[in-house]
């Protein structure tokens, strides 16, 4: 499949790569994102490290037979041990450690029950953090529910989709185009609040949705309906140039009624899956219009595109250029 977008496939940003519970103590968790094999391991200190999967020595995959030893990881091939900075600290049969014996590690955060890494093709370092939401650890809210699926698209398309109010009635069953109450950008954050109506369980529900995008990979949503309030982390992480893994990780408010709580726990994942179903076919088959014929009500799409440009910048090259000019 030919690449369809006029921008790089992996813009800088924080991306969800696993749930915290998936990376168990003393375990190595293997994933493929950004066209690379990656591993995550949790040291004895509880801290998660995410790094490239293949050993800098002779290329063995650490996730296939490797072991977590204390706060280090041991390669299954020759027993070299690497610390949480990816640096080799022990070769069992050699005293001198080669300088090149180092894994590429990624800035990593475990927040809201989710493990995210900062990915940059230009090796830019993160200049912003992921917000923490108390609801994900508060027992007054449900335990974390997670579902994920793959879609052939680009992270920027997913972000544009969230501010594209016009598609909600046709793709997601809203009664009419939702009304935007707020649209702000602030550095790497973009906030949009909109209200609308949609049928759920045969009843028309009012939806008051606040989306807080932090970069292009993570969107924190608070959805208040007549029936339920939910905090949702929508994540979009590129598996490769053409494919995204979409994660929906959420908690909802519990009430005194256990029947309602159990029912919603069963019902909501399916409802969310149905909600996103329409998007998948459109996103997989559309092309990206650099100069789209937008109507006046579609300003948020232009705002988002302007905001998104910052995630494609090579900051290192920029600062070098600034030094040269100075």
């Amino acid at each position: 499949m030919a690449y369809r977008f006029p921008f790089a496939p992996y813009p800088d940003g924080w991306y969800q790569i696993a749930l915290g519970r998936q990376v168990k103590a003393k375990d190595i968790f293997s994933v493929t994102y950004f066209g690379k094999d990656l591993v995550a391991f949790r040291g004895e200190n509880g801290r998660v490290t995410v790094m490239d999967a293949h050993c800098p020595h002779l290329g063995a995959h650490i996730g296939v037979g490797g072991k977590v030893v204390g706060d280090t990881v041991r390669c299954p091939f020759h027993g070299w041990r690497f610390n949480q900075q990816g640096v080799c600290i022990d070769i069992p049969y050699c005293d001198k450690i080669p300088k090149k014996a180092k894994f590429k590690t990624y800035p990593c955060r475990e927040q809201n029950g989710v493990i995210s890494i900062f990915y940059s093709e230009h090796d830019n370092q993160p200049t912003y953090e992921i917000p923490a939401y108390a609801a994900f650890t508060d027992p007054k809210w449900s335990s974390i529910i997670h579902l994920s699926y793959e879609v052939q698209s680009h992270v920027q398309e997913m972000a544009e989709n969230a501010v594209d109010m016009g598609h909600f009635p046709f793709v997601h069953g809203y009664k009419e185009v939702p009304k935007i109450k707020q649209l702000d950008t602030n550095g790497p954050a973009l906030t949009i609040q909109f209200v609308g109506q949609r049928r759920m369980l045969g009843i028309t529900n009012s939806f008051d949705v606040t989306l807080h995008a932090v970069g292009l990979g993570l969107v924190f949503a608070t959805t208040v309906t007549d029936m339920v309030t939910a905090h949702v982390i929508h994540s979009a992480t590129p598996i490769n140039e053409n494919l995204l893994r979409i994660g929906v990780t959420f908690v909802f408010n519990k009430t005194w009624n256990p029947v309602r709580n159990v029912f919603l726990r069963q019902y909501l994942p399916g409802e969310i899956f149905r909600f996103t179903d329409g998007d998948r076919a459109v996103l997989a088959n559309k092309i990206y219009r650099e100069l789209p014929a937008l109507c006046s009500e579609e300003k948020p799409i232009t705002t988002l595109r302007r905001w998104a440009r910052q995630f494609y910048v090579d900051s290192n090259a920029q600062s070098e250029l600034a030094q040269q000019v100075a």
């Binding site: 800098p56 290329g59 296939v64 299954p76 050699c94 080669p98 300088k99």
Partner: protein, 268 residues
């Protein structure tokens, strides 16, 4: 239990089919089926039995140079004049003092060069296999398309600690002969590595055991295939998932791996 490996992108900075002699068929198979086709170096090779117990090998209309070693037919892959291949016959395979060789085979997602490099990678024996400490390399010599390694390695076999001497000779990347002298057993091995397609190779092994005592011979004949299988089962997950580092971060004791890489360049 090995998990199926998803086929990913090609992982090597060189062709999957270095030139050389590769196994195509056992002549005894041709008695049952005078003509058969097999996947070989990314092509379909047709092997046909000819008179006098010989066989020829073709890819399409192209007849390949062949030679016979014992029961095995090898064909040459690559352009130009085939390099000289003086592979000694293994007399032990037909000797009455040895048990008839048993045959093992497996398919693996790797490259023939990886298998060759593995022979000189002393440090992996104690980590991947069940060796006690790193083997002592007693001899390593390169001679045109051939290289020989002799090593002594401590290991436990059937609960007995032994320190067998192993001599391994590669004839190109496709043919390997090995001899193992242990306290309790003497083995002669023919191993062939053949690229099937871009991603996979097939490894055949014929292993003969020197006769000693009837009961002991029966036990070894029953147990040894499992031990050998287990040996490779340790290598397979590493080979199937690793990448090839052109500039690996090797330490001082691992220079022989780079010598093997330089030796291998002649086949590309």
């Amino acid at each position: 239990m090995l998990q199926p490996v998803p086929i990913g992108a090609y992982r090597y900075p060189f062709t999957p089919y270095p030139r050389g002699w590769y196994f195509v068929a056992e002549l005894s198979q041709l008695h049952k089926r005078p003509q058969y086709q097999t996947k070989w170096c990314g092509e379909i090779a047709t092997v046909t039995a000819t008179n006098y117990g010989r066989a020829c090998c073709k890819i399409g209309q192209l007849t390949l140079p062949t030679f016979v070693l014992g029961n095995c037919l090898f064909a040459y892959y690559g352009k130009g004049v085939p390099f000289l291949q003086e592979v000694p016959a293994i007399a032990e395979f037909s000797s009455s003092e040895w048990l008839r060789p048993f045959h093992l085979k497996f398919v693996c997602r790797t490259h023939v060069q990886e298998v060759a490099e593995n022979a000189l990678d002393m440090a992996h024996f104690s980590r991947v296999h069940e060796y006690i400490g790193d083997p002592k390399l007693e001899h390593f010599s390169l001679d045109g398309p051939k290289f020989t390694v002799r090593m002594r390695a401590r290991r436990r076999v059937l609960h007995v600690i032994d320190e067998p001497l192993m001599e391994i000779t590669y004839f190109g990347m496709g043919i390997v002969q090995a001899e193992i002298w242990a306290k309790t057993v003497h083995l002669k091995v023919l191993l062939t590595n053949t690229p099937i397609d871009e991603q996979h190779i097939i490894v055949h092994q014929w292993i003969a055991i020197k006769k000693k005592h009837f009961l002991r011979d029966v036990v070894y004949r029953l147990v040894l295939p499992h031990i050998v299988d287990r040996e490779f089962a340790h290598d397979l997950p590493v080979w199937q998932h690793k990448v090839y580092r052109e500039h690996p971060a090797i330490c001082g004791k691992e220079g022989d791996i780079m010598r093997i890489r330089r030796w291998a360049e002649q086949f590309y």
